[in-house]
Point group: C2
Chain length 197, copies 2
């Protein structure tokens, strides 16, 4: 195993990676979707909660249903993207802990504390969404995360069979068209938002 | 720029990376801390909010102060780690948007909606914490994220000069001792928590 990533690899997943507003006409295959998940699921979550629930919206019908839940500026982005993932979470993730974290009774830590579970599911599914973006980029794909949409309407439209699931944010994935990226927004100097104590 | 990461690189940041419970006696330098931040800040956040606020706890005195805020099982982990990062966020991140997202008046989108800001800061700082872990691994370091600690006490101890900052979770960083890792917890099959529609 390599000890560090090369500069070129760091460029791919961090420094040169960008958010895209348009896509080349090339789909995202089942195999690529599975490869992304096989990587993202290896990323750490608290007590291996794995609270993220992912809906990969790829058919024309499903794209239209999701676009109907999105802010005006995001409808065309969803319709035009090869696939858009709904990153959701399960407030009752603790029901899965007996098999996800089998060496102790982790389920009992969360019983009777729905607010605490919601906070933990929200935090840890966000981590998983970040792993998803890094994984997609690592596999040669591009991303466009979005939070301008109606969470409740999307939850109802895509998770109606799972009353404790919530839709949290969206991420389109495909082969990005570099002519559609905006100028990179400024990035802070270290001292602005960090301290070493 | 490379188009995809090699298998060896994917092993480093996802497949072979593990959460460590003990560390080799080798510190984390200022340069390494800065390198991690230089990578993590390139990761996407909604409207370039960059809401994460990071305290890198490295001195003996600061480690003791943080250990005093942690659950019993995490005190020794903090005292024994080369550095532990407090991943916090700024509920008033919108005050920075005039320079972080300069091409539009994004600050106005968040004014008067503290609950909405808190949700967005929480989600996006979690993404940044995931970028932090991937960046640290990419640079040859190891991680140990933790959420067993008193958030309010830690906020008071480390962010008392910033009334709208909140401590959210912790991550130790160093050169991990492979004899201290536990057996890998089970990972779900694709169909368990995903659907393609």
């Amino acid at each position: 195993m390599t000890d560090t990533l090369s500069d070129s690899a760091l460029d791919l997943i961090f420094r040169e990676a960008r958010t895209y507003n348009g896509w080349h006409d090339k789909g995202v295959s089942d195999e690529e979707i599975h490869q992304i998940y096989e990587l993202l699921k290896m990323g750490p979550t608290s007590a291996n909660q794995q609270p993220g629930r992912f809906v990969w919206v790829r058919s024309d019908e499903a794209k239209q249903k999701l676009a109907d839940c999105a802010d005006e500026g995001n409808k065309d982005k969803i319709l035009g993207a090869p696939v858009t993932v709904i990153i959701g979470y399960d407030i009752d993730f603790h029901e899965q802990l007996p098999w996800l974290f089998p060496h102790t009774d982790a389920k009992s830590w969360f019983e009777g504390d729905e607010e605490g579970r919601k906070e933990s599911a929200f935090r840890n599914s966000a981590l998983q969404g970040a792993y998803l973006m890094i994984a997609a980029r690592a596999l040669g794909l591009d991303c466009a995360p979005m939070s301008g949409f109606d969470q409740d309407k999307t939850t109802q439209a895509f998770f109606s069979d799972q009353p404790k699931y919530r839709a949290d944010w969206l991420c389109s994935i495909g082969h990005g068209d570099r002519t559609t990226i905006f100028e990179r927004s400024p990035r802070p100097e270290f001292d602005t938002f960090n301290k070493v104590v």
